[in-house]
Symmetry: C2
Subunit: 345 residues, 2 copies
Amino acid sequence: MVLPMKRATIKDVAALAGVSSSAVSRSFGDGTHVSKATRRKVLAAAETLGYRPNALARSLVGARTGLVALVVGRLRSPFDSLFVDALAESLIGVGKHLLLSPVRGDQRADDGLMRALDYQVDAVVVAAGTMSPEVADRFARMGVPLILSGRVVDGAGIDCVLADNAGGAAKAAELLLRTGCKRIAYIGRGHGAFSDDERRRGLRDTLRRLGLDIVAEARAAVDREDGHPLGMELLSGPDRPNGIFCMNDALAVGVIEAARDLGLRLPEDLAVVGFDDIPLAAAGSYQLTTVAYPIQPTVAAIVETLEDRLAGADWPSRVIRIPTRLVVRGTTRRLERAVGTRTEG
Amino acid sequence: MVLPMKRATIKDVAALAGVSSSAVSRSFGDGTHVSKATRRKVLAAAETLGYRPNALARSLVGARTGLVALVVGRLRSPFDSLFVDALAESLIGVGKHLLLSPVRGDQRADDGLMRALDYQVDAVVVAAGTMSPEVADRFARMGVPLILSGRVVDGAGIDCVLADNAGGAAKAAELLLRTGCKRIAYIGRGHGAFSDDERRRGLRDTLRRLGLDIVAEARAAVDREDGHPLGMELLSGPDRPNGIFCMNDALAVGVIEAARDLGLRLPEDLAVVGFDDIPLAAAGSYQLTTVAYPIQPTVAAIVETLEDRLAGADWPSRVIRIPTRLVVRGTTRRLERAVGTRTEG
DNA sequence: CTGAAAGCGCTTACAG
DNA sequence: CTGAAAGCGCTTACAG
């Protein structure tokens, strides 16, 4: 039986290589202030001992931990999991690791944020929950960058990355109008959720410019499962809408199911437009027209902002809007004059 | 403008409270060996300074880090993201934090595992990638528990948690047979993926016991997007199968799309059974019959095993099989004698 | 119960 | 280029 073996430390390597621990440390650092010969000896010793620097001890000295926390809610929508996946992968690319700080119940991201601080994270990305001013302030004072995903909050040192919600909603509204919808409804999350609010207002403002208004609204969580009952409700009433803009694709898919259960034809009786462009939107059974919110650019903007901040950038705060793109599929009617093109900016 | 403020340390608290750092440390520890009065003073001082122990420094001394790494691939299937979500949440419940170690391309989980080790994780859950014996051995020698999710690998100190794949596949096979399917195909991942292999064999063995065999097989990744072309291929041939068992629900949904594109009626012309029971399987548009692989018990078993190991349990290795359950929906024909019941064990 | 001291594994000025 | 020393923020025996 093999006895539990302690991890090799810098001292072990120094001893084997016949040098000081300083030399070992330098050999694993930027490689400066070490002779090639010393470095070679050190690396060889490290190899035989299977030595790898202890990231935790290293960060105690004042260097960065390489840890970035993500405060996130339930991974319900496919969009969320794709986002987490892309972020984790992207961070590895810049030598950082993602620490998950899940929060539930829509409330206090504060707990997750404070836990992250205990681990001396280099930065925190907040994608869910609400943040108290006290906690935000604390991050600012400690110089830990805070990046909000999907919402804008004013505050020194707080950067925000999110979709051009109003623009995307306007595109959806215009498409619905131009394809003949007059009674347009909105289904969203409600309760003051940031992106939801912006999308609803984007729709409303565009409609109002033409003298129309949202004819009905429903609020829910953001699941496909929630979309179904809300769709049923909205579509069973007396003054049925003939167009529905949904806060996201997951809800839209639920609405489509509901429309089918009611025997409505899409897009003849009802047009549906979603938001996100999750993979399922392209599935044959849904063919959902939607406002694409691309994940790669979003994650890239987050990581870039994060690196700028860690490099010392000290602008008061930055808001990056990710452009959206209308993807026209089968749940909306054809434009009278549209020919051939399926996607438009 | 507020100057960046250093985090309060144990010394700051000790000074303010007028005690030694030892006293502070004890007050934040198990609370033993401190008088109530001292403790109260310390906690008050900590409160005013906003002090919280540095988790990293704490773990340097030899205690645990509270970090658990998850080596995971792309979060493609909804099952994966639900799993990550449940695991992260469950770990918070026992005071641990999930560090994401994403790996790509199906290969070397080794990189992710070694990175995890650099952060002195208390344990690692491996849900993707292949692991070299050297790395597994290293974990064993260092006494860091390794828990495999979804696969069995022999090795000292390696525990495994996974579905009762053979049993689940047998249930699927029996249902297909009892509802009249004679030409049964399998669509899976191929390339020796562990669970895929077990499910395929479970199907084959059950069929063989009745003198039948799998009439066709297709290999793919595990996406819905992959299921479609494979379904097309399998269903366009001369000797079309009338029953397909898919390695997971995502693939099955793609197959359903393909069947529809070909004008096949489900379940009359073709029966489809999946595995996992993702939320989408219950959607009106799919109504997929599937072998449910429940996530909560799986995650619970993982966390429990992890805690047992950290508590010093030293059995050589443990394999936990999570029972599956057949959920009968619309993609399979009705049993001749079945009445009323939609779910059977 | 309490504090001074040593030490966890590293890095970083500081001399040489 | 190189090493001895101090120190990062904590905990843990060890005396008192």
